[in-house]
Assembly symmetry: C2
Homo-oligomer: 168 residues x 2
DNA sequence: TCGTATAATATGGAAAGCATATCATATGGA
DNA sequence: TCCATATGATATGCTTTCCATATTATACGA
């Protein structure tokens, strides 16, 4: 009995330790992704918030400025300025929403998105580095990792909504 | 032979697909962590760059402003302003470096770091959400995930250095 | 010891952020 | 239908932040 409960205790401790390790690694990852993002922004002459919005547009667009401001947690007026700059730089286009003529839909200009991704991934070496990392894992393991990352992203989205949403 | 090479091809394709899936999930995760971070910053009355720096200080500090500006990819003069605000808010302290009297070391004020973490993790529900996610995985699986995350963070660090470093 | 390099900060002009006002359009109810 | 109110985007003006440059203090090599 002492051995059985002993290894149970060990398992629980391992799990606790791993929970912490995962969270810690996640925090570190966040820091590094932020740094990477800033580097990319600098190359493209885009300030922090601008790149974040562009990223959101390429991913979730076409999208209205108001929806975007909620997503990004930015003041609507701030967003007008950001969109002005992105439009001036040829990154995005603003179209009128046919269904609601007050509204505008923002979409990424074709071809430009690829430029970001290339910088993000290729020029920085991140793409090759990730291929190397992935190569170390079996297919089933990568499946696991991808699933974990998606779940974590979703958890982050919910958490961000919780924080940002209560601002109303 | 046709069957053997066929399943080989399938395996290669799976791997390609998973590589893409992992990168995509990583990008999504980056977006969500950025959103979460902004939400936290808003609660603490800290703008984007300020929180990023504070995060770096709590993690790598005590650290000199110049080293910090390199890490964060910010202009030294910008950093002075950021540190002024962080100091005014009681988040950090500036001490003279005993070895080099030109230099300053910045360190996080005790107790405050915990406040950030609490907001990041607890108030936003991220902590509980991550516990739930982790609970779905076996100990060995978590071990795998933690290793992957660390490797990815390191890859991100190298990539960010590559982009930022060539600015010199 | 002197010239040069480095670290941090001060200064001032440019840019960005944000609260508020404004204008156009939508929507629900009398 | 008409009107009151709500909503979406942007304009305006003030405040804050950013950043190139200059400045001050210290280190270090010739």
């Amino acid at each position: 009995m002492s051995q059985g409960s002993g290894s149970q205790v060990t398992a629980v401790r391992s799990r606790r330790r791993l929970n912490r390790a995962v969270k810690e690694a996640l925090r570190e990852l966040g820091i590094q992704l932020t740094r990477l993002s800033r580097g990319v922004g600098e190359r493209l002459d885009l300030r922090g918030g601008d790149l974040q919005c562009l990223d959101l547009i390429t991913r979730y667009g076409p999208i209205s400025p108001s929806a975007l401001s909620r997503q990004a947690g930015l003041h609507p007026a701030t967003l007008t300025g950001i969109l002005d700059r992105l439009q001036l730089g040829g990154w995005i286009a603003r179209d009128r929403d046919p269904d609601d003529r007050r509204s505008v839909v923002v979409r990424a200009e074709h071809g430009r998105g690829a430029e970001i991704l290339r910088l993000y991934l290729v020029d920085s070496g991140m793409n090759a580095a990730m291929d190397q990392v992935c190569a170390q894992y079996a297919v089933e393991e990568l499946e696991l990792v991808a699933r974990f990352l998606s779940q974590t992203a979703r958890a982050g989205a919910v958490a961000a909504d919780t924080l940002g949403g209560s601002r109303a």
